[in-house]
Subunit: 340 residues, 2 copies
Amino acid sequence: MVKIVDIAKKVNRSITTVSRALNGYDDVSPKTRELIIATAEEMGYTPNFIAQLLQKKQTKTIALVLPTFSPRFSDPYFSELLAGIGNKAAELGYDLLVSTRAPGDEETAYYKKLALGGRVDGFIVIRTRTNDERIRLLLDKEFPFVAFGRSSFDTKHAYVDEDGYLGMRLIADHLLKLKHQRIACITSSRNFAFTKYRLSGLVEGLAQGGIEMSTSRILEGDLTQKSGYELGSQLLDHEMPPSAIIAFNDLMAFGVMSAAQERGLVVGKDVSVTGFDGIPLGEYSHPPLTTVYQPIYQIGAMTCGMLVKIISKCPLEKEHILLEPTLIVRQSTGEASLNL
Amino acid sequence: MVKIVDIAKKVNRSITTVSRALNGYDDVSPKTRELIIATAEEMGYTPNFIAQLLQKKQTKTIALVLPTFSPRFSDPYFSELLAGIGNKAAELGYDLLVSTRAPGDEETAYYKKLALGGRVDGFIVIRTRTNDERIRLLLDKEFPFVAFGRSSFDTKHAYVDEDGYLGMRLIADHLLKLKHQRIACITSSRNFAFTKYRLSGLVEGLAQGGIEMSTSRILEGDLTQKSGYELGSQLLDHEMPPSAIIAFNDLMAFGVMSAAQERGLVVGKDVSVTGFDGIPLGEYSHPPLTTVYQPIYQIGAMTCGMLVKIISKCPLEKEHILLEPTLIVRQSTGEASLNL
DNA sequence: ATTGACAACCAAAACGTTTTGGTATAAGAT
DNA sequence: ATCTTATACCAAAACGTTTTGGTTGTCAAT
């Protein structure tokens, strides 16, 4: 591997001059600069990244640790988010370090290792928990990060979040307008901060229409299609099955649709199903899915952009961003059927 | 940030001794070691990763550059693969650097920067192209990598690949057994090496049953659900629509199913649809999807494991791994209907 | 002739770690 | 008393870059 000193020898200049020529300082004569640049090119010089980092004390790298409960995860939501973060990072000259850790001690240890070891310049924390140890740690060490999601410390840190409360109110209004009475839902784990917002939006929204969901109609899923299928089956096999099932994400909604269709029900007629997130798959599912759209790709990009500003100590226009979601009505919802 | 020299001062030992104590060398007395470890703990010492790297000349990092044609991608296939690679990497003490680059000059430049800049120890190259510049570059620089997929240079590098030829033969046999005659397919781009294998398996498999696909029944998609929907619509609106449509991945198959169902066709009865890859979504789709299963998660893990062996100069048991896929028959395929 | 300003260059330090090639001391063998 | 061996320790070099704080030489202004 060719290094600066090799170039320096070849052009008979000092290491300093070569470095400064390559980095565009103006205390190098044009001739020398040209010569150095040409020689570097010719010798196939690429700066040693690690050595640069050690000197500059920054890594130009952002960490994203996916909190996965099962090692396998196959959620389009993540690839969409990852693409948003990754592309923005690339655009800003940052690299992205991606890893997975199940919530727990190992996760915290990993955050510590990356942060204190100077491995990365900042974190993007996703799937925030109400009392989030990752956030506590990062706040404590005063390490740059942006959260996608709120937390109990959220006055103290930058975040981007969807307005899940509003999103679910939109769903509730929509179903009320369609005259649904027996409504069930499949929630996500209470560990996730967003569950709280979505659930309260849903409950309050339905209450506006005079509808109260019995706890037997509130089941907790794990955001996978499989869990939507299983819990959906359970709800539909009830003696008084719901006329509408609200899933807390799209993947579970697909599972519910599948369960309904297996029972010969026409989704959107016999039973209405709603999702949440608005992943592209829902556009061409059968029937296309009524859902609450969040611009996941943009959220990723935005979060990353904010983080880079924080890292480079640029002031943020806005520390806390709460995005208004929009309801996308497709064919998976329809008027409450009377025969059920 | 506390560093070795701080500990050294506190315990009145040299930097060398502290370093060696922490790294488990045996030329440190037990008492001193204990003292040093305790002090390090107490002072909250975390080794500076960058400085370690510079010294050790390795990064313990693997690069994965996703070749995305559109910036957004929402494919469960990728998250599954990423999980496999990421978890294996974590297990082996490696970090994963993930980025996206559209195939082209920027992509090659990025590979060069990472490799020659000593940024990573090796690459996982996915979605191989027949004449793959990335592979050519890495071979040329003798930089460690493992490909997921074959290439025209594949005798010279380690790879893991599915046997796409066999996979498609399984599909062909299955459809022939169901007496399908009018068969269409939606392929992936010819740029991808795997397209070639899948296509020839399909064509030869059908030929065995005396069936030749007319070129008008071979359409090229882009692996998205949308493209499956659009091309599927096109095929189904033909005056002599096919009784079976073979999609080159699951996502496109979902799109095709959606298009069929929109036309009032019952998938698995009026028209058969097959996918390829076996992503979890297909298990709970409606109807569940007949597909060729590839253990994507395991492939990711395996690829990563091989790469780490190459990096650490361990001999590989096997340089070239070709995985036998299995056919998963579900309800999206059935006997050819006679009325069409 | 001296001064000041400027252009072009560079030696050495710094970043924080690991590794190399030692030294000093004490205990045991001769 | 001398030699060997083992134990416990350490100074300095190394990794490859950037930055600091200069120096030298030239030219124009005084």
